[in-house]
Amino acid sequence: MAIATKFELKPGMATREAFGKTLVELGRENPNVWAVDADLSKSTYTSFFAKEFPDRFVSCGIAEANMVGVAAGLASFGKIPFAASFSCFVINKGFEQLRVAVAYPGANVKVVGTHSGISIGEDGPSQMSIEETSLACSLPGFVVLAPADEVAARALIRAAAEHQGPVFVRTGRLKVPVIYPADQRFEIGKAIELIAGDDVTLIANGLMVAEAIRAQGLLAVEGISARVLDMHTAKPLDRDAIGRAAVQTGAIVVAEEHLVDGGLGVRVAQVVAETHPCPMEFVGLTGYAESGSPDSLLDKYGMRAVNVAAAARKVLGRKKK
């Protein structure tokens, strides 16, 4: 379905691929950048880095707990290790190590989870990472990022490398549309207002940003003015942007390809409750999905513009009461 929007949303690369390409650039610019891998380099695209910098590419085998510890040891020598794996494996199998070896001492480790969300598709729920925003945000001192497109992924991977301290970056398998101009600036903790609007705010991250943009187009046809915010940083949240959205639009929808429990929406709701309480609705997952093509899964599990628009109408109904 064609939806009118000022964004062209041309096809782009997957955020994981943008990560892999950016890591090579970082490797050229900074000899302290390392890649640490657990037998998924061809999927996480750290294979690009391995090809050019085999001596700074550390193969750990299928052992994510050790991988995270090795990264912490590298960081203690002033290295900037990027430990990458499928998001579900590194966050879950490496969580205890992310807690004690990384978060607790504040080690300068960068973790990149790829194949996040249900859009990994056919592999099914054991490979679908839908809990990691909650888990990563629970770790004190961690910055948690979720880029929406290749431009955002490139910029945020660079920001992660420059940031002193632990960072988790959530990336996806699926090719996603390009939202941003190549020179778009990104700052950790600063949401980007993609579209101005007064009636309701649509907050999203990852591949749901494009869906929120499309939802804005659907709502505009109905005379509803929706603001769209890319909350690419799940932690620390942009409290100012959220507070402004609550005051100025008085209704908020948060959309994420993640469990609603403990996800971005819940975190945004905390800020709304602490600043300017207003009605909110949440678009996200409520349980484990199943195998299928990514598109069929995103349709079935309600990760589409129509679902975001429906949530917006619902929240507007509550706002009028």
């Binding site: 085998g61 050790n66 510890g69 090795v70 912490a72 040891g73 203690s76």
Partner: protein, 273 residues
């Protein structure tokens, strides 16, 4: 601190460290005396002899690293670091109390000279591996010494790290197994047998040295042997006695994680006089 290779002097230092351990844990009213006492000669021989370090320059990039993976034995580490001049000796008895730098398990936020925050068993060897890789890349002489508990090697991550160390030929990493044969719930053989432990490390591609972990000459020889081995990491299987040096604590599972009473502190200090 005065570095020394003299066995008699190192034995005297060990006795002093044991007295600290007893006083610290006695004052705290909780803690793990058994595994601190069993690791005393290992820690003393490292800090006063084998270790490349300079307490006046704790951030020296070429220093060796000690990672106390069995973090619950931190009293022995704290006592040694304090006696070396890294931290104050006067406040050792604030162990485990609010505001103390001597936290219940090693915490770099309070003592930056600690090489790793530990306490969740099984994690230290992986960190040592990362250090070994970085030291080799940087062409530094630094070595990483990781002290493991025997019960601790029941953790699967240890074997992930063991496989990693041999695969990456990290001959600058040394694992020291404080093989005191007792863990929290009882004897290791009754909780989860780790034997044949030397064969396990060998099967994982490590050079191994089996030794008496309370013999300072044996420890000195083992550290020297480990330093001479090329192309693979070394595991020292150090046979020790839990609670070593205090008669009523030796081989007594109760003193894995129970502090001595006031009377027991007095008795122990008499034995360690």
């Amino acid at each position: 601190m005065q570095r020394t290779a003299n066995v008699g002097e190192l034995q005297e230092i060990s006795k002093g460290i044991r007295r600290h351990i007893i006083r610290m844990i006695g004052a705290a009213g909780s803690g793990h005396p058994g595994g601190s006492l069993s690791a005393t000669e290992i820690v003393v021989t490292l800090f006063w002899d084998a270790l490349r370090h300079d307490p006046s320059n704790p951030e020296w990039p070429d220093r060796d690293r000690i990672i106390l993976s069995k973090g619950h034995a931190c009293p022995v580490l704290y006592a040694a670091m304090a006696e070396c001049g890294y931290t104050p000796v006067e406040t050792l008895n604030t162990l485990r109390k609010l505001g103390s730098i001597y936290q219940g398990h090693p915490d770099r936020r309070f003592i930056p000279a600690l090489e790793a925050s530990t306490g969740s068993l099984g994690e230290g060897l992986s960190i040592a591996m990362g250090m070994g890789l970085a030291a080799r890349w940087d062409k530094r002489p630094s070595r990483a010494y990781c002290i493991l508990g025997d019960g601790e090697i029941q953790e699967g991550q240890i074997w992930e790290a063991a496989m990693f160390g041999a695969f990456h030929k990290l001959d600058n990493v040394v694992a020291i197994l404080d093989y005191n044969r007792i863990q929290l719930d009882g004897f290791v053989k009754d909780i989860m047998e780790i034997e044949p432990v030397v064969a396990k490390w060998q099967a994982f591609g490590w050079h191994t040295v089996e030794l008496d972990g309370h013999s300072i000459p044996a420890l000195q020889a083992a550290f020297a042997e480990a330093a001479a081995v090329k192309g693979k990491p070394t595991a020292l299987i150090a046979h020790t006695v839990k609670g070593k040096g205090v008669s009523f604590m030796e081989n007594n599972p109760k003193f894995h994680g129970t502090a001595p009473t006031k009377e027991e502190v007095e008795l122990a200090l008499k034995e360690l006089a």
